[in-house]
Amino acid sequence: MSQQVVIPHVSRIEGHAKITIDLDDAGDVADARLHVTQLRGFEKFTEGRPYYEMPAITARICGICPVSHLLASVKACDAIMCVSIPEPAKKLRELLHYAQFVQSHALSFFHLSAPDLLLGMDADIKVRNVLGLAEKYPDAARDGIALRKFGQDAIERLAGQRVHPAWTVPGGVSSPLSRENRDAIAAGLPAAMAIVNRALSLVKGLVDKFPEEVASFSNLSTMYAGLVSPKGNLRIYDGNIRFRGQDGQIVSEVERPSDYSTYIGEATLSHSYLKAPYYKPIGYPNGIYRVGPMARLNAADQCGSEAADRELAEYRQRLGRVPQSAFYNHYARLIEIVWSLEHMRALLDDREILSPYVRAQASVNAPEGVGIIEAPRGILIHHYKVDSDGAMTWANLIVATGHNNLAMNYGVKQVASHFIKKGAITEGILNRVCAVVRAYDPCLSCSTHADGRPALQLNIRSANGTILESLNTRD
């Protein structure tokens, strides 16, 4: 008899999603799907709004990485105004962005995934969370809280508040950085670096202890996309979109943001409110590529800062030049925190960072603009069209999590197939099915900007479509 298993609530991810697993007559996995269950419609309901409202509105797509949307949005607005923003403003935006990478990566690693990595994939469901972590591994929990706090505090000192700040504006930022705040942020850097170094030691000891997860967490050959500098360094605020193949060869490099749509297409999936972008020159679905920490390290030649490059060399020595299991995102994420902290140090030491020249004023000088940045979970694209008065006539938003949609679906099926044999399903197995999604640190809040939230639901359905078991219905 075939059957269907449903995980209604994929937990410890940033959003709502559901998973359906179809089993065949022998009880083995026939298919599995990730459903993102909400849509919010930002592309439609922003029509008619003034373009300069877009940063504040689109920040509300996501409270986890509002800075990402703020930056992609103001860059699209800069393009509509045709301004080249003052250099200090660019540096301040970058500083804000690095701080966000630190807090968001800390959240993903410590608050969301460390319970799986430290307490174990099969740990008691009641303690397999950040509070359970605090009881068993209080030092790790305190490290996580402190590192996230460092990033959030830097955002507050730069931008006035931690979530949805109104500081980044079309043309630059609204106020300069004070000496006092610069010194306060800089004072926290050594402790933050010590925390991430402890976490790196931890992860290096762990990566070899999860061979089954490494083997099954979206362990597949794809392309990888990330922003890089002309020299091939890792970039997050601007840069070329580079696509690199699994064989290590560079497939293409997109220099102008406005050319993105020549390379990236979007497919609707019947089972999800989250669309699936694909690499257009190859087509759907073979044009699968991934974004995010591991993909960025794969796409770049090097990080471009000393400590991070040292870590990257060790990472590549252990995992190869182009690792492909999504499990390694945890390791890559920590290297990116090291890199972010090094760049924060360099920017805070830059004399120009206290400059009062932080904003260019202009009005509408172009009918459309594209802003592209790296959100913590991957490439984020805001594309706006406006009329001559600056009222929005059209918007397209391609969010980081979307790029990974095809690979996450593949991963869910791969993990389920790997662990579910002859219909035997344990809670720990279902947790692993969720954990592969968690490895991508998906922001399903972002991903459903179209309108809604993801609730991960797991259906086990028989081959003839009958639902065998609906574990965990969240109702």
Binding site: I7, P8, H9, S11, R12, E14, G15, H16, K18, T20, H35, T37, Q38, L39, R40, E43, K44, F45, T46, R60, I61, C62, G63, I64, P66, K126, R128, N129, V130, L131, A134, E135, P138, A141, I145, K149, R162, V163, H164, E266, A267, T268, L269, S270, H271, K275, Y284, N396, C434, S445, A450, D451, G452, Q457, N459, L471, N472, T473, R474, D475
Partner: protein
């Protein structure tokens, strides 16, 4: 598989409906107070824990987000039936805020714009295994009775810590001077 929690600690649940998670981030922004709370409360449901069903007899439930689809409505009703105190956390729960910006647009037009006009392949709105969108995104009190309102986009961490601690001490929360809309 509903779980009955037997605990000497007070039980807290958090729920994320149609919102951006910013209120949950502001909850985490209470930083070290989290460790203090860990000794007084058990977190029994929400995006940060793995429980799949809403437990019975929860002392306090914080709800972020507007009610925008059938899943939201069913979950909100279940929360109400199983919680002693329900807190509308943040502007989306209190007023429906940004999610309600779509309310003037028919759902069919939204789906058409995003999945047909906004796609290159498979130009058909999704329909398999996902909840339908409600005609309107509404504030929480239009769906269920709400005991405490905490506005803000998001509410400040201090306000969230204050409301939790006052409820744990069985006080009527006094948030004057701690909250504002937006």
């Amino acid at each position: 598989m509903s779980t009955n929690y037997v605990s000497t600690k007070a039980t807290l649940a958090t729920v994320w409906l149609d919102g951006c998670a910013g209120c949950h981030m502001s909850l985490l922004d209470i930083d070290e107070v989290l460790i203090e709370l860990a000794s007084r409360i058990e977190l029994v449901f929400g995006p940060l824990v793995d429980a799949q069903t809403f437990p019975v007899g929860v002392d306090v439930t914080l709800i972020e987000g507007a009610v925008s689809n059938q899943d939201d409505l069913k979950l909100a009703q279940k929360v109400r039936a199983n919680s002693k105190v329900v807190v509308a956390l943040g502007d989306c729960a209190v007023t429906s805020n940004v999610p309600s910006m779509r309310n003037s647009i028919p759902v069919r037009q939204l789906l058409q714009r995003v999945y047909v006009e906004g796609a290159d392949v498979n130009k058909v709105p999704p329909h398999d295994g996902i909840p339908s969108l409600a005609r309107h995104a509404v504030p929480l009190h239009e769906a269920i009775r709400v005991d405490v309102y905490v506005p803000g986009c998001p509410p400040k961490p201090g306000a969230i810590a204050r409301v939790i601690l006052q409820l744990l001490d069985a006080k009527n929360p006094d948030l004057s001077g701690f909250v504002k809309f937006g």
